[in-house]
């Protein structure tokens, strides 16, 4: 060794929150959004979203009136867009839980800028998801067959069926996400209460914040409850979509009956969810001027997670093909050749383009910080992930074991309207959330500011 070693330069860490924020400026910025007059653009967006929701309600009404025959379902393809949409929406929710729970346990401080609205996204996405199997049963007034409740027929649901597991898994997921979201919001609702000028706001936020006083004797239990919620939600990130995948994997349909499904679905869910978080974050950040809170650094990190999960998804596509060939099963082999070159090849290649090729651009640091590129890429990933579910559901069902029963599936007008309407429902809730609730967690953002660390400020003795 020569004594001529160069000093190692450690790159300086970029602060997570920019613009030299103080505790007060954080509160002013986030509360100000809710306290200000409703922007005109919000009304416009809300009108569009609300119209979408009305479309949904109308199409559900017609569905209940006329039956599932209004959809494009046919004899081999008894699961059409409704199930595609269900898996699509549940998957989107997973990123919110990953951000709020797993990143919390890993002490990823950057999550504080995006966790609140990612959690909101989770809840609204799961509402959209739960709606689809509910209306898919056709006779909606018999939905209580799902629940283990005593009834006049003395009948009970079959707990050995993955469809019932799914009901419990997604139901639990929704409830826990809601609890997590609300618990995280209590200190911020107290901020709204304390800033409230009008009597109505004082009463509403007073009730919603439950009388929070910010005493450390409260924080202590609060922090533990939050930690436990994160701990309990962490396995949910992995388990919920795994259970959803068992709806497929425990059946005998070629292309579904594989053990790779749970991890493959989970990776896809996180991938699609981050794409949705990114789309929403880019719009909200731009519109509400939150560039100091959601910085390019945040997008860079989200893009890295998308690169990872997108690559896992791409790898899973390849593995499926390999196993179909390696298993020597004629049906499996045919199903995958049929996916890539059969009547649904167009959907398959949209899926490959959006899910495998698009995230590979995220190897470039420049593109990971290019907001316009990220916006386009995140929408493409959302499209691709919807097509993934379409390919899985429809291509396998339309051509399974018996060629005489093969049929081509195409959606009807009502399928399309219902799907568009579910976006209306989602954005109606999301816009109401942006307008009336704290979209960024103020108490958590303050806690990661440098001056929040008591050992960081002046006056060491």
């Amino acid at each position: 060794m020569t004594g001529n070693t160069k000093p190692v330069t450690v790159p300086e860490k970029q602060p997570l929150i920019l613009g030299n924020q103080t505790f007060k400026s954080v509160t002013d910025k986030i509360s100000g959004i809710v306290e200000a007059k409703t922007p005109k653009e919000w009304y416009l967006a809300f009108a569009i979203a609300f119209f979408g929701m009305l479309l949904l309600l109308g199409s559900i009404g017609f569905l209940v009136w006329d039956g599932v025959g209004i959809w494009g379902l046919n004899n081999p393809v008894a699961w059409g867009w409704a199930i595609v949409n269900f898996v699509f929406w549940v998957g989107i929710g997973h990123a919110g839980t990953l951000i709020s729970a797993i990143l919390f346990l890993f002490r990823q401080k950057w999550r504080t800028s995006i966790n609140r609205f990612a959690e909101a996204m989770t809840i609204f996405a799961v509402i959209c998801a739960l709606m689809f199997p509910g209306i898919h049963i056709g006779r909606i007034w018999l939905i209580y067959y799902f629940f283990p409740v005593p009834n006049q027929m003395g009948m009970w649901p079959n707990f050995r069926s993955p469809l019932l597991w799914d009901f419990f898994a997604v139901g639990t997921y929704f409830t826990v996400s809601l609890l997590f979201w609300y618990t995280g919001m209590i200190p911020d609702l107290a901020t709204f209460r304390d800033r409230a000028k009008t009597r109505a706001r004082k009463i509403i936020f007073g009730i919603m914040s439950l009388g929070w006083r910010g005493g450390n004797r409260q924080w202590q239990h609060y922090e533990l409850a939050y930690l436990v919620l994160a701990g309990l939600s962490t396995p949910l990130v992995l388990s919920v979509h795994s259970v959803v995948s068992t709806d497929f994997a425990t059946s005998l349909v070629p292309g579904w009956h594989t053990t790779i499904f749970p991890p493959y679905f989970v990776a896809g869910a996180i991938f699609s969810g981050f794409a949705m978080v990114m789309t929403l974050a880019i719009i909200a950040r731009r519109f509400y001027g939150l560039e100091h809170f959601i910085t390019t650094q945040h997008f860079d990190k989200m893009a890295k997670i998308m690169l990872l999960t997108g690559s896992i998804v791409g790898y899973a596509y390849a593995t499926e093909f390999f196993i179909a060939w390696y298993s020597g099963s004629d049906y499996e082999g045919f199903t995958f050749i049929n996916r890539a070159f059969g009547p649904y090849a167009w959907a398959y290649w949209i899926m490959i383009t959006c899910n495998v090729i698009v995230p590979q651009f995220f190897w470039s640091g420049k593109l990971r910080r290019n907001i316009a590129f990220l916006f386009v890429a995140s929408i493409l990933v959302n499209v691709g992930m919807w097509f993934e579910r379409f390919v899985i559901v429809v291509s396998s069902l339309s051509r399974d074991y018996l060629p005489s029963s093969w049929d081509y599936y195409s959606p009807t007008f009502w399928d399309i309207i219902t799907f568009i309407g579910s976006f209306g429902l989602f954005f109606t809730f999301f816009l109401l959330f942006l307008r009336f609730l704290p979209m960024i967690s103020m108490s958590e953002v303050k806690a990661i500011l440098p001056q929040a660390d008591p050992h960081n400020s002046e006056g060491h003795e």
């Binding site: 707990f159 006083r213 400020s457 006056g459």
Partner: protein, 179 residues
């Protein structure tokens, strides 16, 4: 109006560090019934105030286990007792298939007890509290750092406690009254 009862004394501090240091001094002075209010949890405050570990974890563990047992019991009762049917050749007590619902109820009961248990221990919701009568206290959810010492504390003395709070760096010291 009838005589107002004194609830305690409130003092404001400027930074999280000042609050932390003051908390140590309040504890060393022998006060037991005091609390440090801040807009966010301050690292090291539990130790500074000499607080014991939260026992919420035990409550959650018990309820989560009750959830899992409920899940197992429900499925056992449905398929082995109340409605015994063999479906797709699976045994009546197919415990492997029951794990997912057990897990779901484990998480559901655990999460529910975490939130409700936290609220119960913190005695929330409580919409009416003497600290809210202080006008300055509304800063606590933005950038205010406060210490409140309750009159129930044996050490509490109107004049001495006020002087003490001033001595340890408190500003805007005020009396809190029950109303």
């Amino acid at each position: 109006m009838a005589d107002t009862k004194i609830f305690g004394m409130l003092a404001e501090f400027e930074t999280p560090a000042a609050l932390l240091k003051a908390a140590v001094k309040v504890r060393n002075a022998g006060y037991k019934k005091f609390d440090c209010h801040s807009p966010f949890p301050i690292h090291g405050m539990d130790k500074a105030m000499g607080m014991k570990r939260s026992h919420l974890g035990f409550i959650i563990a018990i309820f989560a286990l009750i959830g899992a047992v409920t899940g197992l019991g429900l499925q056992y009762w449905v398929h082995s007792v109340e409605y015994p049917h063999i479906i797709s050749g699976k045994p009546l007590f197919a415990w492997q298939a029951y794990i997912i619902v057990m897990f779901a109820l484990f998480v559901l009961f655990g999460a529910g007890s975490a939130v409700l248990g936290m609220l119960h221990i913190n005695r929330l919701p409580r919409f009416h509290h003497p600290v809210f009568f202080s006008d300055r206290f509304s800063k606590v959810t933005t950038d205010g750092f406060f210490i409140s010492i309750e009159a129930d504390d044996p050490q509490f003395d109107l004049r001495k406690t006020a002087a003490f709070l001033q001595e340890i760096g408190g500003i805007h010291i005020e009396r809190l009254e029950e109303q």
